[in-house]
């Protein structure tokens, strides 16, 4: 019996190995693999244009949210799942760089990019887009009650805005974490005092953006929520216009510019990439005007290439904050866990 059992196991393994070996080979790669997060999107036409110009098939591999993608890249450093990683942002950048997952590559197209967005002087990562996490408010809610909406982070703690704010838990949500970083960037060591005031003023904490925005926030179309201020993105007002039928003349929601924290998303050539040449071509393409102009309506963030023109909807309804809040990535990496723990003690317990 035991002998049978063993031989069957060996036979099965052998079959699997043979089948897998048949697929390997030393042909030059005809494709390039983009490892990215679940929110990545690109228009079909743009994708085809890359494939036509480069002669490479673009394979897209989605590996979870940004945190999961970076974790997987770190686990496979040197023997990556793809050729290019897109979607690491400034809150996760240090983790990826510490794990040594990237091969430096300085794209010629970087000359069109605002140098402020290039956070890694060694060019292990290349900025592709940026967006801001901001407080959004429901214009109609405030207009109906004759109350002026808050204009600054500080004003949100005022008595007249009691029980109006809903935020995401920074331990479980990316915009939630980013908003916590915004308050730390603004108040420095005094950030805990700010959150104590928010708590005293009735801030509601929920698990994720989906619940905060679509269920609790009064300004989202179709929502029955009763909180007119929410942590969301600077592009959310645009979405409220273009996904509503009929389209409203003005955006029903607006952004509190003072609260915005900048998120920059980067791409990088993965160290050990099977198709390094194709990977570089892909990074170049992602910086090209064609791809950059596709970004806003595909992913609801802003291009980094100064030559890229924004779609009409973005010009009309989106706000790009002039002086968004920022923190250095290594400071974020060094303190993130401690900040989240301290935040939990202050706001949740």
């Amino acid at each position: 019996m035991t002998r049978c059992h063993k031989s069957a196991l060996v036979a099965l393994l052998a079959a699997v190995l043979l089948a897998a070996a048949g697929c390997g080979g030393d042909h030059p790669p005809t494709d390039v693999v983009l490892l990215t997060h679940d929110s990545f999107a690109v228009s079909d036409a743009v994708r085809q244009e890359f494939e036509r110009d480069s002669g490479l098939k673009l394979k897209i591999l989605k590996a979870g949210d940004a945190g999961e993608v970076v974790t997987k890249a770190a686990l496979t450093a040197g023997n990556p799942q793809g050729d290019v990683l897109f979607g690491v942002d400034n809150t996760l950048l240090s983790r990826a760089l510490d794990a040594d997952v990237f091969e430096p590559y300085e794209s010629a197209s970087l000359e069109n990019v605002d140098p402020e967005l290039i956070l890694d002087p060694d060019h292990r990562v290349t900025p592709i887009d940026h967006g801001e996490v901001c407080l959004n408010y429901d214009k109609a809610w405030f207009a109906e009650r004759g109350i002026a909406p808050p204009r600054t982070l500080e004003e949100v703690t005022l008595e007249r805005y009691r029980d109006l704010l809903v935020v995401e838990n920074p331990a479980t949500s990316s915009p939630g974490l980013t908003f916590l970083l915004a308050t730390i960037a603004r108040y420095g060591d005094l950030w805990q005092g700010y959150w104590r005031k928010l708590r005293a003023n009735g801030v509601l904490v929920v698990d994720g953006w989906e619940e905060a925005y679509t269920v609790r926030f009064s300004g989202a179309a179709g929502s029955r929520g009763n909180r007119p201020i929410v942590v969301s993105y600077s592009s959310s007002p645009v979405a409220e216009v273009i996904f509503r039928k009929p389209r409203p003349r003005a955006a029903p929601t607006a952004v509190i510019e003072d609260s915005c924290f900048r998120q920059i998303e980067f791409a990088g050539v993965l160290r050990g990439a099977r198709n390094e040449e194709g990977a570089r071509q892909l990074v170049d393409f992602m910086l090209s005007k064609r791809f950059q102009e596709d970004i806003p309506l595909a992913m609801f963030v802003f291009p980094v290439n100064r030559e890229a023109e924004l779609p009409r909807e973005f010009v009309e309804y989106a706000v790009v904050p002039r002086l968004p809040l920022e923190l250095p990535p290594d400071e974020i990496e060094a303190n993130r866990d401690r900040w989240v723990r301290e935040w939990t003690d202050i706001v949740v317990r």
Binding site: M1, C4, H5, A8, L9, L12, L13, V16, L17, A20, A21, G24, L35, D38, S39, A41, V42, S43, D44, R47, K59, I60, L61, K62, A63, G64, G67, E68, T71, K72, L75, T76, N79, Q81, R95, N169, A171, T172, V206, G208, E210, E211, Y213, T214, V215, A220, A221, G222, R224, E240, I242, F243, R244, K245, M299, F300, V340, T344, V348, R349
Partner: protein, 532 residues
Amino acid sequence: MGSDPSRLWRTATYAVPLAFLALFFAYPLLSILERGLRADGSLASPLGVLTDPLTRDVVWFTFWQALASTALTFAVGLPAAYVLGRFAFRGRSVVRALVVVPFVLPTVVVALAFLAVLPAGLERGWIAILIAHAFFNVAVVVLVVSTFWASLDRRTSEVAATLGAAPARNFREITLPLLAPSLAAASSIVFLFSFTSFGIVLILGGPAYSTIETEIYNQAVRIFDLRAAAILSIVQLICVGVAVWITLKLEAFVVVGAGPRSERDVLRKPRTSRERGLVVGALGLLAVFLGVPLAVLVERSIAVGDGYGLDAYRALARPTSALLATPWEAVWNSLLYAGAATVIAVVIGGLAAFAVANSTGPRALDVLLMLPLGASAVMLGFGFVIAFDRAPIDFRAAPWIVPVVQALVALPFVVRIVAPTLRAIDERQREAAAVLGASPGRVRREIDLPIVGRALAVAAGFAFAISLGEFGATVFLARPDTPTLPVAIFRFLGRPGEINAAQAYALAVVLMALTAASIFAVGRLGVRRGWV
């Protein structure tokens, strides 16, 4: 050995499932655990995590909420299992199909529906967690127990009644022992699902609650402390192993009754008004419990501005940048994956059920089969990334890895549903057939298969539903950009804008309809093939 087909068959029944589990479960999981424990180079410090009061609280909460969720699930599900297992009535197979619908829905969608339905104050916290777990898992109790119940000969309890046993005593001393294997099977599955619950705990529990599974995710992905995640994963595996061991003991406790019967001989129409009242009452309870949150989803899918309309459904035919495809392609992808996963799960799980039901078979296989339900999904997902990373087993981007992992989660269902029925087959029936000259193969074909056919069909339906709903580690696999239904729902829900939210709910309704239809179709197939 090849000359003895019976022996070859017996070897295959456990060698094939064992090889499958070793390659696609044990190997990747052990790889990631090893990597995690090795991370700091020091093995001395697991104590730090184990003695942390936070760990103790998390383990305690995980345990008691899973036990309480299982109890609540049985309270809601058993009455319905009883009427479905004893009575024939019009619409019975429709009820059996509808009850599976909640089971496949993405947790985030259901959680959002619950937030809308539960009264203020109850909407968040442990009560909401228990109610949601019961909502998801009641299908397991209803289908597993009623399928088994419908194979129990009525005459046993009728004889007892004739001999003067009161209904309560009759139930306690006759029915309950007879049902024990299926009760154990259902409770082990419900317990494991509640034990490793993730999305429900995050959303409905609120920031103050965490289970071992959510803490593993937190450590592995947010804090990037793989060592703590690995230690917690081992704690979780041990807890799950113990729980599985206990329920397996119970499940093997077979009271030899009169042997399993075909449903056709067991089910009868409710005769008295009391029986009719029971049917209406039990199903009514179920309908309210399951129906209200589902109705909210349907309502959300047709809400347009201040009125109602089918805009969201019409929009499903258009390609969208959220998916790089039309949502209907996601439906098609889901069906393909689910079909493949069902075939794998039924073939391998069916073999394993024979091995498990054979009392001389190895118990280790039995426990190992259940562990995929209790292993941390996120760690298993990471395990795949590092275990299958080199030729010739570089499977990391292979599209077939998705149905394989779905089958891993569906396997325990197939085994738990089929094995109790197989065990209950009266050995005398087989012996009689053998004496009359039937070959072992023919005995399997003509005695075992017709009786387990029904159970296999139910198991296949579950496997299909599980794959449609994308359970466990598939969420954490890197996958080519072929969106499935649950992926599409997440994608839409993650974007602001009215039509996106409505499309997410519309796709949830499509998922509900597909699930009900497939379970119903499997049931019909069973009837046509004469299994019922």
